[in-house]
Symmetry: C2
Subunit: 348 residues, 2 copies
């Protein structure tokens, strides 16, 4: 390839892909003052792997699998002892809670500016947490049948439009759309392969989240979509340190939790939040946000009947219309954050 | 599985895996004051994929591939107009530059506290940048021969000990070891599958890094190990905005760059830094840090002969002994950072 062709590709790329995000990113007028920031890994199991399993470069030996990456910020001035742990959904990573695709402040910074430490994880199997590559390498060398490697799931842009309710149809925004529609192309970049269907039982995510909450104390576990049930599962393992559970548009219905489990959960406040247009077709058979809303509505009733403090907020009932599945990135994401913080304060 | 077994597993995990990292993490006495912090993606290509290629959950449509995740911090008070872009090596992610495995401040925070904006990328194919999963999903469904899926590379803990020169042998630290030997187990968790052997030509990482530098201006590109040559390749695409190139223990030798290319590079200062014990056996045939040191030493001479400003620092020549391959995590990582900053100041 000649230099001039390379240069033309470069200019094209620079123009199309670079200009938008950097130029569009906004800064707040007040500085962000942190007591600390950093990252660490939780958990992880040692596993011996041979050279083929490692991919052929390294000699055989142990590697760590099932670890969870966490990054965090602690504000210099804390409002109280409460901390937030944010858990992303399918196909995504901790990026979910950072700068929005149209360049506004993410929830990570917003909650810190409100005076709360924030911890953001990459689920085991996603992003910087990695996944166990050995099955793929064995399949490649024909030492293992292909069906032994798990699929990597992704969601197409066209499906995202209807499934995440940016629009009732692809490229046709819903009325009063709260998602920043001009930045849907940027959101597409956040979608990365998701290897979570082959995890151990019990799911190591639950173990790490409950242990993190116990260590931080006064922790609010905030889940989204596929990670919806994670706060509940973590609390069932160890409720110590979990101050509240917040589930943003959780998948599933919660109908499989037993009465005994609900009794154990009743001491911890639970908030479920859903956006608008839940009746929209998701394009995926058997997958319905309306069904999940109704199922978790039943769960909230059961939990309250068991002595709990639980609420399901359907945002249109508060007069707030047009919210998508990505509530934390919607144009009114600060309004939604305030609703959550206020609800916790009112129910502690 | 009964509740009591689960609880026992939990206690065990909590004890073994959780206590170390959180308790060991240190905070600085002065707050970190940021003008801004955030993240964005660079580049990315749209590709149509069918339902099998997407993993079976989503309906067919377009996804983004070849995007690059970047997160950044800008200090409230900048020393001057210079910014740093940090590029990790094989098997790793942007985590490389964050909190060290033994809980000390990472280079990301150190450089910000010195007054410089920092940008950290996950290479295309690593961490939050994701990779193209379609080949793996096609192989799984036996629609593609297994050899069409790239291997995922990882490095075993045992190989890391000698290859990264924590020790001359596994579990036997080198004399005056600068790596925090007690935290080698934590470092193991940073190693995640690496899918970089199937990238397009030209490597999209080069395009994005050169475009980022052009947009930021006065940018120092800092590479490590497998990404060693990235600053040079980026500068050859577009030198605009690249103030200096810093290569930490680069792999390869640079012997393949032509005299014409060296002439084009000669306006940009180049610093190469190597640690100690380069003669150590790497455990991988044909892979020798001593050879890379010598090769890049020749490159530095050629660049200077072409009118450039280039230096190779072999730390033991400065009386600094025991540094590992992970210079940015070694116990004297701030000393190494200061050497780099001072060299740039002396050569601008």
């Amino acid at each position: 390839m000649t230099k001039s062709i390379l240069h033309a590709i470069f200019l094209c790329l620079a123009h199309i892909s670079m200009a938008q995000p950097l130029a569009a990113i906004q800064s707040e007028s007040e500085p962000l003052v942190l007591q600390s920031l950093g990252s660490f890994y939780l958990g992880g199991d040692k596993q011996f792997q041979n050279q083929t399993e490692l991919g052929g470069f390294s000699s055989e030996g142990h590697v760590t699998v099932n670890q969870m990456y966490v990054n965090y910020m602690v504000p210099q001035h804390r409002t109280d002892s409460m901390s937030f742990v944010f858990i992303h959904g399918m196909n995504l990573s901790g990026k979910t809670w950072e700068t929005t695709p149209d360049g506004r402040m993410g929830w990570n910074e917003y909650f810190v500016r409100k005076g709360y430490p924030v911890y953001m994880v990459d689920q085991v199997g996603a992003g910087r947490s990695g996944f166990n590559q050995k099955y793929y390498n064995l399949v490649r060398e024909e030492q293992l049948a292909a069906k032994n490697q798990e699929t990597f799931q992704r969601i197409s842009d066209e499906n995202t439009w209807i499934n995440f309710r940016f629009g009732l149809k692809n490229q046709q925004p819903v009325k009063e759309a709260k998602y920043p529609i001009g930045a849907v192309g940027e959101f597409s970049k956040q979608s990365i392969p998701f290897a979570l269907f082959g995890l151990a039982d019990p799911n190591p995510n639950y173990l790490y989240l409950s242990a993190l909450a116990a260590e931080l104390k006064h922790t609010v576990l905030v889940s989204h979509s596929q990670s919806g049930r994670f706060p509940i599962e973590s609390a069932l393992l160890n409720p110590k340190g979990i101050k509240a559970m917040v589930m943003l548009e959780p998948g599933g219905t919660g109908a499989d939790f037993t009465d005994e489990q609900l009794s154990a959960l009743a001491t911890i406040p639970l908030l479920v939040v859903f956006g608008d247009y839940l009746e929209n077709e998701t394009g995926i058979p058997g997958h319905s946000w309306k069904n999940y809303h109704d199922g978790w509505g039943d769960f909230v009733q059961r939990l309250n009947a068991a002595g709990g403090k639980a609420t399901l907020i359907y945002l249109p009932n508060l007069g707030i219309h047009g919210n998508s599945h990505m509530l934390m990135q919607d144009k009114n994401n600060q309004q939604v954050a305030d609703i959550i913080i206020d609800w916790i304060k009112d129910n502690e």
